[in-house]
């Protein structure tokens, strides 16, 4: 038997997979290019006919509208660019606070599914089923109606200590700035360093002798103690700017508008139900034997959860948790429906005033894209740190 060599490759034949691949790709690029050209051509032609100006130069013009709330004051004399900045900070503010609150609530609800108490389990299940099966926009609008119609007027605001709750939102005391507070911040930072040192020492002790020391409560106490010492060193200022019941509104102090509260409440409660499911799924994914082994070693139930279950569950939890954070941030765009001045709402106003639809929508998309990609990068980095090192 004579072995025959395989036929020589014909690189320019339809039978060659590589050649077909190149052809397919060229066709795909040509198609996409044609579609993009078609759309761009139409857009330019339409804009010319309708006399729509284009370009981002409008960002420097005066905005001419007021923004109700923001991290820093804004008035109608300032530029569109500043208006967009206020919008972005408003979006980030509600998203960040929402993420923190939703995570805390979600973890409580998710862990609650494993409680020994049937009532706790039942409450957690009903919460999750109730809140995740109703559109988030509906929840936002409902909270807004509750906050602005069911709550009392400012003159009859509900009062709890120094906090007032009314149609005007939530008013709370803010400390009057004094050098003592700066000292308190220094104290907190010092306490943080001390706590870090303590944790390192405790970890070394654990490695050396196996004796377990508190890794959460004692460091927390050290940080707080540092803050209190700093505050006392700074002369212990106690000046607070209290809200005062005025005739038409609550004056002084800090305030959260009902729009902000409605968006925050709606997003937090909605996302918490999803985070609860993520946490439950993560804990359920840890094999039962792990917990049995932990209790066989004599760990308490809290230690089992903290030292054995959670570290393993975290690897399953983190990727979908990232998705929930991104969803919350993206859902904050629904604030436009109740008039919270987030970036979409500002873009909408700017769009209506200047008619530059393409630019305004592009800015909104860019802001969300940067936030999304930034968050995923950060979480991917954390995820690669938390992943099991295999081989």
């Amino acid at each position: 038997m004579s072995s025959t060599a395989p036929p020589p490759k014909k690189n320019w034949s339809w039978r060659s997979q590589a050649f077909r691949g190149v052809v397919y790709q060229i066709v795909a690029i040509a198609l996409i290019g044609a579609v993009v050209w078609f759309l761009a051509h139409n857009t330019l032609a339409n804009m010319r006919i309708r006399g729509i100006q284009s370009g981002f130069d409008f960002l420097a013009q005066t905005a001419g509208f007021d923004i109700g709330e923001g991290l820093y004051p804004f008035d109608s004399e300032e530029s569109y660019f500043r208006a967009f900045l206020v919008g972005v900070t408003n979006t980030l503010r509600v998203a960040l606070i929402g993420i923190v609150l939703a995570t805390a609530l979600g973890i409580l609800l998710g862990v609650g599914r494993f409680s020994r108490n049937a009532l706790v389990r039942g409450l957690c299940v009903s919460y999750v089923e109730f809140f995740r099966n109703i559109p988030v926009l509906l929840q936002l609008l409902l909270w807004y109606v509750v906050l602005t119609e069911v709550f009392p007027a400012a003159s009859e605001a509900w009062q709890l200590g120094w906090f007032y709750l009314s149609k005007g939102g939530l008013n709370y005391p803010i400390p009057v700035w004094a050098t003592g507070q700066l000292w308190a911040v220094y104290g907190l930072l010092g306490g943080w360093v001390m706590a870090w040192l303590y944790r390192r020492w405790a970890h070394q002790q654990f490695e050396a002798t196996g004796s377990i020391r508190s890794m959460i409560w004692v460091p927390l106490l050290i940080v707080l103690l540092g803050g209190v010492i700093g505050w006392a060193l700074g002369g212990a200022p106690t000046g607070l700017n209290h809200p005062v019941r005025g005739e038409f509104s609550i004056e002084n102090g800090g305030a959260l508008t009902p729009e902000f509260l409605a968006v925050l409440l709606g997003l937090t409660l909605y996302t918490a139900s999803f985070i609860a499911e993520v946490v439950r799924g993560g804990i359920a994914s840890v094999p039962r034997g792990q917990m049995e082994a932990a209790s066989a070693l004599g760990l308490s139930r809290t230690q089992e959860m903290r030292l054995v279950m959670l570290p393993q569950a975290l690897r399953v939890i983190i990727p979908p948790l990232t998705n929930q954070y991104l969803n919350l941030t993206k859902n904050s765009s629904l604030a436009v429906a109740i008039g919270y001045p987030d970036v979409v709402s500002i873009a909408n106003t700017a769009l209506n005033q200047t008619g530059r639809a393409v630019e305004c929508i592009a800015i909104v998309m860019l802001v969300y894209l940067i936030t999304s990609l930034g968050t995923s990068l950060l979480m991917n980095w954390y995820n690669s740190r938390a992943a099991i090192k295999e081989r």
Partner: protein, 371 residues
């Protein structure tokens, strides 16, 4: 020795206590409500709160509520919910601005579509002819709603609204997005760099932006994209937007399913001499798609909820219809909260049923794996 002597006379040992009962309601209560002092304490606290608030909520929602469409009765202080707003407005909440005498048409169309959705959920109907039935029913839906044939008067799409629109948007975007999602998912795993890059870009871009910006694009920018003189209905534009959005999310779910198919399957297909498309169609997709049914179902649920966003670009689906019906009437406007609760109930009923179904499918799919 002693054993031998004792064995001659029978001495019964003391009877053992009966084993602790671990079944039945009493044992369950002891185990789940009163196990130790912590559990008992939380039972007492939570039970107390429930006992205090649940009767108040029930009173508000049922016993003291006003069911008759009379807004003057609702004005009495200390009364409960005012469901009269639903009794009065339910037809314009559910059907939006559709002409009043013709509302049997959206009713029939919706029943048809929901019936099809339910039958498609049953395993015995997962046949090759199912997509064909879908096309027929969707065509019937459009004919019924739009009219202009067989003696039905024409109803423009801007009069469509309410629940039929919600269900139409959700199911049509699901059906239309599926082929796109399938191609994009295959494209993301393709060996060809240009196609892979394009598909990845599409998925990541769409998933990075909120739906509302896509809808704004559909309603403000879409007219600019089209050639001069071509007017596209706002319903179609929004549908295109939702479809492209849903396709990106479904593509990720399908890609997950594709990745779960073992590599050996593709290699085995290659040794048998199957081409790429034959491999995908006969080997990979049947295994992958069975796995992604729950994920697709979850996407459908979120699309169903997301349709409420089209109210922002002035299409009056269920939520928009409710807001318009109640806000346009000054007498009923103060009771919009009850209106919100009513549509929340409708959304909940649909989404809850679907999520239960998705859980059931997940169990069915995993049945072969768990023994």
């Amino acid at each position: 020795m002693t054993v031998a002597t004792n064995s001659t006379t029978f001495q019964p040992i003391a009877p053992r206590p009966a084993p602790v009962n671990t079944e039945g309601p009493l044992a369950w209560i002891k185990d789940n409500l009163l196990a130790d002092w912590k559990t008992t304490l939380s039972t007492v606290v939570i039970g107390g709160i429930l006992l205090w608030y649940v009767p108040q909520i029930l009173n508000w929602a049922f016993f003291k509520a006003h069911w008759v469409a009379d807004f003057n009765a609702c004005k009495v202080e200390g009364g409960g919910a005012c469901w009269g707003v639903v009794t009065e407005k339910y037809r314009s909440i559910i059907f939006g601005r559709y002409p009043f005498e013709e509302q049997w048409r959206p009713l029939v169309a919706t029943v048809l579509l929901v019936g099809l959705l339910v039958t498609s959920c049953m395993r015995s109907f997962w046949k090759a002819w199912l997509p064909l039935v879908w096309l027929v029913v969707l065509a019937a839906f459009f004919l019924l709603m739009y009219g202009n044939v067989a003696g039905l008067s024409r109803v423009e799409t801007d009069r469509w609204g309410g629940l039929p629109l919600t269900i139409l948007l959700a199911s049509l975007s699901l059906v239309a997005s599926f082929p796109i999602a399938l191609l994009v998912a295959l494209g993301r795993r393709s060996q060809l760099p240009a196609i892979r890059t394009f598909c990845t870009l599409y998925v990541e871009l769409i998933r990075g932006v909120p739906l509302i910006s896509v809808l704004f694009m559909a309603s403000f920018m879409f007219p600019l994209f089209m050639p001069q003189g071509l007017q596209i209905d706002v319903l179609i534009r929004v549908l295109v937007g939702i479809t492209l959005f849903a396709a990106a999310y479904s593509a990720e779910v399908i890609r997950g399913g594709l990745q779960a198919v073992p590599k050996g399957q593709v290699e085995a297909a290659a040794t048998l001499g199957l081409t790429y498309w034959q491999t995908q169609r006969k080997i990979v997709l049947p295994q992958a798609l069975a796995m992604v049914v729950p994920g697709i179902m979850n996407n459908f649920i979120s699309t169903f909820k997301d349709t409420s966003l089209v109210a922002i670009v002035s299409l009056y689906e269920l939520m928009g219809a409710m807001k318009m019906a109640v806000n346009s009437d000054a007498d009923w406007r103060p009771y919009i909260m009850e209106g919100y609760f009513f549509i929340a109930l409708i959304y909940f009923a649909f989404c809850f049923a679907m999520s239960r179904y998705s859980q059931w499918v997940e169990k069915q799919v995993n049945k072969s794996k768990s023994r």
